[in-house]
C-alpha cells in the first residue's frame, strides 16, 4: 500500500501549479488538509474582485460525498432537517443536519444530479456520521472530495467571463440550478451557487481537466476582455459575513466536536428555523427540536452591526454600557462596501426575547497601547448585503 510522504504536510490541489504562480504572497493555510491560499496579492483587491468584477477560488478542498442507490432520497431526507423530497433533478439546496439531540453537526448543500444520484457538500468531515445514519438503508456513500476539482467563479461579471470562456446556455441558469455542459471536449458541471451573496457559479470538473478549466477562464483576462483574479480564503471570509452565511466551527461549535455541555447549538439557536421542516415524518433530531420549539429560545446567533470603526474581534456583548454580559462576537469583518463593522454574534435571550440594547466592549490597540471603548450594536434580520444581480436571470452581460 502507498505510504505517506511525511514531509509533504499539506496536500496539493489539482490547481496548485497555477495558484502557486499567482499566489504572490505565498500566504498558505490548511483547508481540509489542502494547501490553500489565504491571500494571493492584496486582500482589499481580492475583496473588490468579488464585488466588482470576477473572482476565481479553488474550492476543491470542500468535502464532497456522492449518494446513490434506491434509498438515497429517503436517506438524505432523514439526515437533514429540511424537506428535500421535492428537490428536482438539476437543483441545489442549502441544508443542515443534527444529532439526535437536535444539535447541529454541520451545514452544506445537496445537489440533485439526476441519474447520478446526489452530491452532498459539507464544511467538515462527515463520512462517519453519514455511514451511521445510513444503517439499514440501500444506499451507497462515496467520499469524492479528491475526485472532483471545483472552482468558484463569483462576481458581477462572472456570467460574462464564463460565457467568454466558451460556456453556452448559462443565460437561463437560475440560482440553485445545475447545468451539465462541455468545454473543449471535457465534461463540466456548473451550478449557480456560491458563498458570496453575489452573482456566481461553481464549476466542477474531473481533476485531470482542472488546469484546462483554469486556463480557459483566465484566458478571458489574457484576451483583455474582463478582469479576472484569483482570491483566497480571507476575501471569502469577508463576503460571506456580508452575505450572512454562517460558518460551522467558527460561528458555533459543531455538535460532534463539542466536549463541554451547552457549547453546541440547535438550528433555532443559529437562526435557521427556515430550514427545519416538521412537516416531514422523521429526521434525526426531530423530537428534540419539536420539544425545543415549545420553550422560549435561550440564545441565538444573530447578524449584528457594531457602530464605529474599531474592530470588535472577540468582543463581549452587554445589555448596556457596563451592563450584564449577554454574549460575544464570533466572527467579524469591516465591510468595505457598507463601511461598517459586521459581525456574527451569539446572544443570550432574556425570557425568549432579544435584549433591548446591545453594546460591545471593544479592546483595540494604537501604536502598542491598548484602549477600550463601547459601541452600540443593532441586529439585522436580513443579510447585511445582498444584490439583485445575485438572482437576476439572465444576468447582465458586460
Amino acid at each position: 500500500m502507498e505510504k505517506h510522504d511525511f514531509n509533504q504536510v499539506l496536500q496539493l490541489s489539482p490547481f496548485h501549479e497555477r495558484i502557486d504562480t499567482l499566489g504572490l504572497m505565498k500566504n498558505w493555510t490548511s483547508w481540509n488538509g489542502y494547501q490553500t491560499a489565504r491571500i494571493f496579492d492584496t486582500l482589499a483587491a481580492e475583496y473588490f474582485t468579488i464585488r466588482s468584477s470576477c473572482s476565481v477560488m479553488d474550492m476543491t478542498p470542500m468535502e464532497k460525498y456522492r449518494i446513490t442507490g434506491p434509498d438515497a432520497v429517503t436517506f438524505l431526507n432523514r439526515l437533514v432537517t429540511r424537506d428535500i423530497s421535492k428537490l428536482k433533478p438539476g437543483r441545489v439546496t442549502y441544508v443542515v443536519w443534527c444529532n439526535d439531540d437536535g444539535r447541529v453537526l454541520d451545514d452544506g448543500t445537496i445537489f440533485h444530479l439526476g441519474e447520478d444520484g446526489y452530491r452532498l457538500c459539507s464544511q467538515h468531515h462527515q463520512l462517519d456520521w453519514l455511514m451511521i445514519s445510513s444503517l439499514g438503508m440501500d444506499v451507497s456513500i462515496e467520499h469524492e472530495t479528491h475526485d472532483i476539482a471545483a472552482l468558484s467563479v463569483q462576481g458581477p461579471t462572472a456570467y460574462s467571463v464564463l460565457a467568454a470562456a466558451g460556456f453556452t446556455k448559462l443565460d437561463t441558469l437560475k440560482p440553485f440550478g445545475i447545468l451539465n455542459t462541455q468545454l473543449n471536449g471535457f465534461d463540466v458541471m456548473i451550478s449557480r451557487t456560491g458563498f458570496t451573496g453575489d452573482l456566481g457559479y461553481e464549476v466542477w470538473v474531473d481533476p485531470r481537466h482542472a488546469l484546462d478549466l483554469w486556463d480557459a477562464i483566465f484566458e478571458v483576462k489574457q484576451r483583455g476582455l474582463y478582469d479576472v483574479r484569483p482570491i483566497g480564503l480571507d476575501a471569502l471570509e469577508m463576503v460571506r459575513i456580508e452575505a450572512g452565511f454562517i460558518m460551522p466551527g467558527d460561528d458555533f461549535n459543531t455538535a460532534e466536536t463539542t466536549i463541554r455541555a451547552g457549547r453546541d447549538r440547535s438550528p433555532f439557536e443559529l437562526g435557521l428555523d427556515w430550514v427545519v421542516s416538521f412537516d416531514k415524518p422523521y429526521f434525526t433530531g426531530r423530537r428534540a427540536l419539536l420539544k425545543e420549539k415549545t420553550e422560549p429560545i435561550k440564545r441565538r446567533l444573530v447578524k449584528l452591526l457594531v457602530e464605529g470603526n474599531k474592530s470588535p474581534t472577540d468582543s463581549f456583548l452587554y445589555d448596556g454600557k457596563n451592563g450584564q454580559r449577554i454574549g460575544a462576537i464570533k466572527s467579524n469583518v469591516w465591510s468595505p462596501i457598507l463601511k461598517s463593522n459586521l459581525t456574527m454574534a451569539d446572544i443570550e435571550f432574556i425570557k425568549g426575547e432579544l435584549p433591548k440594547e446591545i453594546w460591545a466592549e471593544i479592546y483595540y490597540q494604537k501604536e502598542l497601547e491598548w484602549k477600550s471603548t463601547w459601541a452600540k450594536c443593532s441586529v439585522s434580520d436580513l443579510p447585511f448585503w445582498s444584490h439583485p444581480r445575485r438572482s437576476q436571470t439572465p444576468p447582465d452581460q458586460f
Binding site: T42, A44, F48, R51, S52, G308, S335, L338, K339, K371
Partner: protein, 537 residues
Amino acid sequence: MKNYDAIVIGAGHNGLTNAAFLAKAGLDVLVLEKNDYIGGATVSRELHQGWKYSNCSYVCSLFRPEIYQALDLGRHGLEVVPIQGGATFMENGDYYGNYHQPAVRRREIARHSKRDADAAIRFDADLMKWCRLIRGFLLRTPPDPTSFKWRDAMEFASLLKAFYELSESQIYEFIRFFTMSIAEYLQEYFESDVILAHFSGGSIIGTGLGVYSPGTAYVLLHHAMGDVDGNVGSWGFARGGMGSVSKAIASSFKALGGEIRAGAEVKEIKVSGRKATGVILASGEEINAKIIVSNLDAKRTFLNIMNKKDLPAEVVRRAENFKIRGSSGKLNIALDGMPDFTALEKGSPLTLGHMHFSDSLERLERAYDDWKDNKWSQDPYVDLIIPTQFDPTMSPAGKHMMSVFVQYCPYDVEGGWTDQKRNAFGDTVINQIANHSPNFKDLIRHIEVRTPREIEAEVGLTEGNIFQGELTLDQLMFNRPFPGYAQYRGPVKNMYMCSSSTHPGGGVMGAPGANSAREILRDLGKENTTPEDFGDD
C-alpha cells in the same frame, strides 16, 4: 404653492449630502440643480456611446466613511475600490514604479536612491502625524477664532494645541509645514529627482501655485488626509465613475423623502427683512422655503444669486477678493484597447494606478511658469488613470476609458479661449502621453477636452477652480470662505452655505454638506442626524 422646509441650491455632492441629512431629520427638502443631470463636479456622463467618463473628479479618498455609513451609500450602489500601482515615467526611459506591495515599493525606491527608501519611512510617519491632526477637524465646524489673539497660522496652532495637546516644538513644526513649499519640504527627506517629483504631484493639483511656492506642502496633506477603509492616504475609484457617489447620495436622499429638480437654475435668493425666504428660478418661478442653502461657490453665491443690497458690504468685498483661480484641465478619452507603455513590461501592475510623466521638480516648476504667463503648460503635469482595467461598467468589454487630469491650464489664456485653442491644449497632453505609449494615438475613439472655461460653464465652478476656492491658509478653517462666516451661516438669517467653499474645502468629501446640516439642525432645534467622527485614536 407648496412651501418647503428647506431648499438646497445645487445638486453637487455636498448639496445632496446636506439635503439628505436635513431630510433624515424629517425636513421637507427640495434640491434645485441648473443642469439636466446631478452631481456637479462629482459626475459620470456617457458622452460617447458605451463609454462613461468621470468628467471632473475621478478618484475618491476624502469622502468621509461616517457619511457613507450614515446615509447607507453601500446599499444605494456606491462601491469605492482601492487603487493600486502607479508610476512616474522618466525622460530617459526609466520609471519610478509605485508598487502596491510595500516590500516591492521599497526596493523600487532604493533602485533610485537607497537612502530615499529609508527616508520614506520617516516621511510617511511625519505626514501621518499631520494627517491625524487635520482628520480630526474634518467633521467639525471650525471654532470661532475671535476669542484667540493671534491670527492665521498661530490661531490654527492654538486650536491644535487645545485639541491635541501638542508640544511647543511640534507646533512650530506644524506651522513650518503649513507655510512651506512642497519642494523644500520633500528635500528634507529625499534626494532622487524622480522620487521628489512623484511625491510632489499631489501638492499642486488644483492650485495656482508651483512646487516652489509656499503653502504647497499643505495641499499635499489635503490629498493625503483621506483614506480607503482606514488606509490613510490611499485613494479609491468609485465603481461606475465619480457620478456613482452623487447618484448614491441622491438615492439615499430620495429614500428619505427628498425631492430633486434638475434643469432648475436659481437666479436669485429672495431676501426680505434680512431673512432669506425663497428662490426665484431662471424661468421666473418662485419657490419659498424656511431655509435656503447654497451649494455654489462663495463667489457665485454672493455675487451671482444674491442681491448686493441684501448683503453687508464686507461680504461683497470678501466675495470679490475670494481667491478662486482656475489652473486645471481634464481629458476624458474613450480607447479601443489598452495602450502599451514603452517603459513597462506587459502585465505590469503599475498601469493600475496613477501615471505621471514629470520626472523632476524643475519640469514641474516650468509647467507652472507657463501658467503664470497665461499659457497652458507645454510640458504639463498629468495624473492619468485607466480605471476600466478593473471597472467593468465604464466601457465595453476589451475597451478602455482614460481619465487625464492636467495641471496647469489657465482660465484667462492669452487672447481668450477658443475651441481651437482648447483642442491645441488637448493635443499638448496627447503628445506627452504618446511619447511614452506608441499605440496610444491609434486607440483614441473620442475625447472630451475641458479647460477651466468648460469647467466653469458646465459645473459653475468659478474660473474652473476645482476646489471652489484655493486651499491657502488665508482661506482655510475659520477663514473659509471668509473670517466670520466659517460656521456655514450666511450673512442673512435662514441662509446657509454647504459647498466646498466652506470648511474643510474642496474635494469629494461630503464634510461641508454634513457640517452645514448639523448647524442648520441646531438652529432649528432638531435632532442632529449627522454622524460623529469615528476617530483615529
